[in-house]
């Protein structure tokens, strides 16, 4: 099967090169059969990469330890679902995963894009094939997943224990799907530039793709946070690690694009900016891979490092030069159709929102690269960790949160003072009430106060928007409240789905602020001994060490430390944190012992218990106890965000207006009370 897999990779490479050569030499414009050939090549590449993937999976499932990748990431006693996910657990497999998913997305784009965009599709095929060909090249020449060993080990090394978690079965593919699907909007943008068809057509063609990619990135990042929280055991979910930052960067620019594209659709403005954002997002997704793979910056994800990073750097530089040169050559064709009329308008709010998104992206990128710059310029190594990122980014994040509430309250084109007063009074009141309430109960952490107060303001905005929409429908159609709410969302999915996403973001911020009040305590306890902690919500927890038991499971020896937890003197419950020594099928240890955290999550706070180790081989246990407020809301916020994203991209929620609005409209005007206020 490995021969077949390698053959499939070579076939995919040759097909990709054929596709690129035909697509970019424009020969297809005069010869329809070449155009068809380009499109069919995309499907053929998918077929080849599917064959290669099946070959690798076959090797994994059949424990063919003569394949270096199989021996490095699996063992005979690895649970079946982790054998499945071992496909993307290592460098080589994840490159193949990237290639095959991109080829499937490229095929889906060719199949699903309406015929009216046929003039773009050969270029789209060319761009996607170029990216796939690059990945296949890296696999063939630097990271071959089918590489064989000179001998066949009796058992494999097994999967890194930290990757033996359900979060790691789902999180990397989700993140990859986000990264990979960005290629499709990028391909359409390049196709629009090459074909000089620079109207909003390409934007309509990629709308679902951008939302899909944003949604996958959002899910991937949230699942990554969840995995870090439950698996790494440090008690938090975001550490500003370079690899975390790398996933956050394209999310930021993609979110900026999702906002600014509305301005182009509605008002014919920001065309150059939108092209720049899509190109930038694609480049950042490649940059993320470069950071992850090259090891130029120290990261806790260093297990993925290898020399392929420099392939990505070369690709990044070439893609950057080609894409921005192309944009430059079309610069004069990308004039705005209308000018912005007022600083106090929805368009201006969107511009500031974009400025902040891109500014935060720059700030994160700057912080990530600053150690390299410092070493280059000063010659001294420095660490840029969470204190740096928090100091720089928290104020920017709060400004963004404020704009999340401000933007929807300002009218398009130009807002009057009366309009502003009417729109802002309720949300601002709610924000101030939140602030006063928190101050009165003794909350003094400045950033937490700001986050909660702004959260109140944004919540006020969202509630007001829904309330007014529902009230208007009830007045016009006489509907019941649930029916009006349902139809309001169904008829304006993009707008109200967007508000649901805003609600998710607001919940995230509030939950993040909760961590300002986390508490942690280390304790060494003999069986029967207790330690007490009081949480930010005023609950008193008594943790009593019960004992440590050891037993063997499928591929590990488990040492389970059990703690009896009593909240405010109520009925106790047991929580168990584990140390796991993974072993191969010959009972030989494979990795350092890993820790499984015990977590009990409530809407108020999480109890987070880490069994740090045993004292001199006895049942006397060292623990770290954390009380983490509001963590449940991070996952809930992620769910709300995904629901909002799904509502927004549900079929039928297409753009409602496209093209240029003429400045002077023939006909008559109607004096509508309150027109222009929304």
């Amino acid at each position: 099967m490995t021969v077949l897999g390698e053959f499939a990779l070579w076939a995919a490479l040759l097909l990709g090169l054929w596709c690129v050569a035909i697509a970019f030499t424009n020969q297809w414009q005069h010869r329809p059969e070449l155009s068809r050939s380009v499109i069919r090549s995309v499907y053929a590449i998918s077929g080849c990469l599917l064959v290669a993937s099946i070959a690798l999976w076959k090797g994994l499932v059949s424990h063919d330890f003569n394949i270096e990748y199989v021996a490095s990431y699996t063992s005979r006693n690895l649970p079946p679902y982790y054998i499945f996910s071992a496909f993307w657990a290592g460098q080589k497999g994840s490159l193949l995963f990237w290639g095959v998913v991109l080829s499937l997305f490229a095929s889906a784009a060719q199949l699903l894009t309406p015929r009216r965009y046929a003039h773009l599709m050969p270029y789209v095929a060319g761009v996607t094939s170029a990216v796939i060909a690059f990945f296949v090249c890296v696999m063939i020449f630097a990271a071959n997943p089918f590489e064989r060993l000179g001998f066949t080990p009796a058992d494999g090394r097994g999967l890194n224990p930290q990757l033996q978690n359900v979060g790691m079965v789902i999180h990397p593919p989700m993140l990859y799907l986000g990264y990979i699907s960005i290629t499709i909007p990028f391909a359409f943008a390049v196709a629009a530039l090459l074909s000089r068809r620079l109207d909003v057509g390409w934007i309509h063609a990629i709308r679902k793709w951008t939302l899909l990619s944003w949604l996958f990135l959002s899910i991937g990042i949230t699942l990554g946070m969840w995995w870090a929280y439950v698996e790494l055991g440090w008690g938090g979910y975001w550490a500003w690690d370079p690899v975390e930052n790398a996933s956050f960067l394209p999310w930021l620019t993609m979110t900026a694009f999702l906002h600014s594209v509305m301005i182009q659709e509605k008002r014919g403005m920001l065309k150059r900016w939108n092209f720049g954002l899509i190109i930038g997002t694609f480049l950042l997704s490649i940059f993320g891979t470069f950071i992850t793979r090259s090891g130029v910056i120290a990261s806790v994800h260093s297990f993925t490092q290898s020399n392929v990073g420099y392939f990505f750097l070369a690709f990044l530089v070439v893609a950057c030069i080609l894409a921005f040169t192309l944009l430059y050559t079309r610069w004069s064709l990308l004039q705005a159709e209308v000018q912005l009329e007022s600083v106090v308008s929805r368009e201006a709010a969107f511009l500031f929102n974009n400025l902040l998104f891109v500014g935060i992206a720059f700030s994160v990128l700057w912080g990530t690269l600053f150690p390299i710059l410092s070493e280059l310029i000063k010659g001294s190594k420095i660490t840029v960790g969470p204190p740096f990122f928090n100091r720089v980014n928290i104020p920017l994040g709060l400004l963004l949160l404020a704009l999340t509430g401000i933007g929807p309250l300002i009218a398009w084109r130009k807002a009057s003072t009366a309009n502003l007063r009417r729109q802002f009074i309720a949300p601002v009141t709610l924000g101030l009430m939140t602030l006063v309430a928190l101050l009165s109960i003794g909350v003094r952490d400045f950033y937490a106060l700001m986050a909660f107060a702004l959260g109140g303001f944004v919540a006020g905005t969202i509630i007001q928007e829904f309330y007014r929409g529902v009230r208007a429908r009830r007045r016009m159609h006489g509907e019941s409240f649930p029916a009006a709410l349902g139809r309001l969302i169904a008829r304006n999915r993009r707008r109200y789905g967007g508000y649901i996403v805003h609600a998710g973001i607001l919940i995230y911020f509030v939950a993040f602020a909760g961590m300002a009040f986390k508490q942690e305590k280390e304790a060494t306890l003999k069986p029967g001994e207790s330690v007490e902690m009081r949480s930010a919500f005023g609950h008193t927890y008594t943790f009593t060490h019960v004992g440590i038991s050891q037993y063997e499971a499928l591929n590990r020896i488990v040492s389970a430390a059990t703690v009896e937890v009593r909240e405010d003197g109520r009925q106790p419950r047991l929580m168990t944190s584990e140390k796991r020594q993974h072993v191969d099928s010959f009972k030989r240890p494979t990795f350092e012992p890993s820790t499984e955290v015990a977590i009990r999550s409530t809407v108020q706070e999480d109890l987070y218990i880490v069994f740090a180790g045993a004292v001199n081989g006895t049942e006397e246990a060292v623990y770290r106890f954390n009380l983490n407020p509001l963590v449940w809301w991070v996952w809930f916020g992620g769910l709300v965000l995904v629901v909002g994203g799904l509502v927004t991209m549900w079929p039928g929620a297409g753009p409602v207006f496209s093209g240029t609005r003429p400045k002077n409209v023939e006909g008559y005007q109607v004096a509508v009370a309150g027109a222009g206020e929304r």
Partner: protein
């Protein structure tokens, strides 16, 4: 084909059997809690719990000590601070040693600032979780905010200028079409239409 299915079934059966038997194997082990070693029993396999630990000192929960350690980077290359590393990565031997250094310096009566300065003098600036905001490092702290502020100010200036230009040119560009009063029915239809297209 049929034969292979049967073979697979047997394998699955054996796998299930292994899953079922694994906890039993654990129960049959020799560990017996609270046997013969004073207040605590011994573990059957102490090596499976990782590096042997020493009992923690209650003063290690001191918030000031934790705050100092959270500002100092572990030197093992993990990118974590000393406190997080020593309470998370239990295979790391650097962070416990660094922790002992911090405790020793504190016991000598040094302040947080002095402890941090001692670490910087000994390990270099990379011992800090965030570089000091001075010299070249100021670029790191100030550039993002300054760039956003400058871009924001420029944006407002451009928008104001365009606003002024639009206001100056609007009388000549505005259509000389007088507003027409609409009937309530027309108004209702218009409102509905607006509600449909509003996005």
């Amino acid at each position: 084909m049929r034969g292979s299915r049967e073979s697979l079934g047997r394998r699955q059966f054996l796998r299930h059997l292994t899953f079922a038997a694994a906890p039993l194997a654990g129960l049959q082990g020799v560990q017996d809690s609270l046997t013969g070693k004073g207040a605590t029993g011994t573990l059957r396999d102490p090596s499976a719990v990782g590096r042997p630990r020493q009992p923690t000192d209650p003063k290690e929960n001191d918030a000031e000590l934790q705050a100092i350690e959270q500002r100092l980077a572990c030197t093992c290359g993990c990118t974590l601070d000393i406190f997080t590393c020593r309470t998370t990565d239990f295979s790391c031997t650097y962070s416990p040693a660094l922790h002992r250094e911090v405790v020793a310096l504190r016991d000598e009566g040094k302040t947080a600032r002095e402890i941090i300065d001692t670490f910087v003098a000994k390990y270099g600036e990379k011992a800090l979780m965030a570089p000091k905001p001075q010299g070249f490092n100021l670029w790191g702290y100030l550039l993002p905010g300054a760039a956003i502020t400058a871009a924001g100010v420029a944006l407002v200036a451009v928008l104001r200028r365009r606003e002024a230009v639009a206001a100056a040119s609007s009388p000549s560009e505005a259509p000389a079409v007088p507003p027409v009063a609409a009937s309530p029915d027309e108004m209702e239809r218009l409102r509905r239409a607006l509600a449909e297209v509003e996005d």
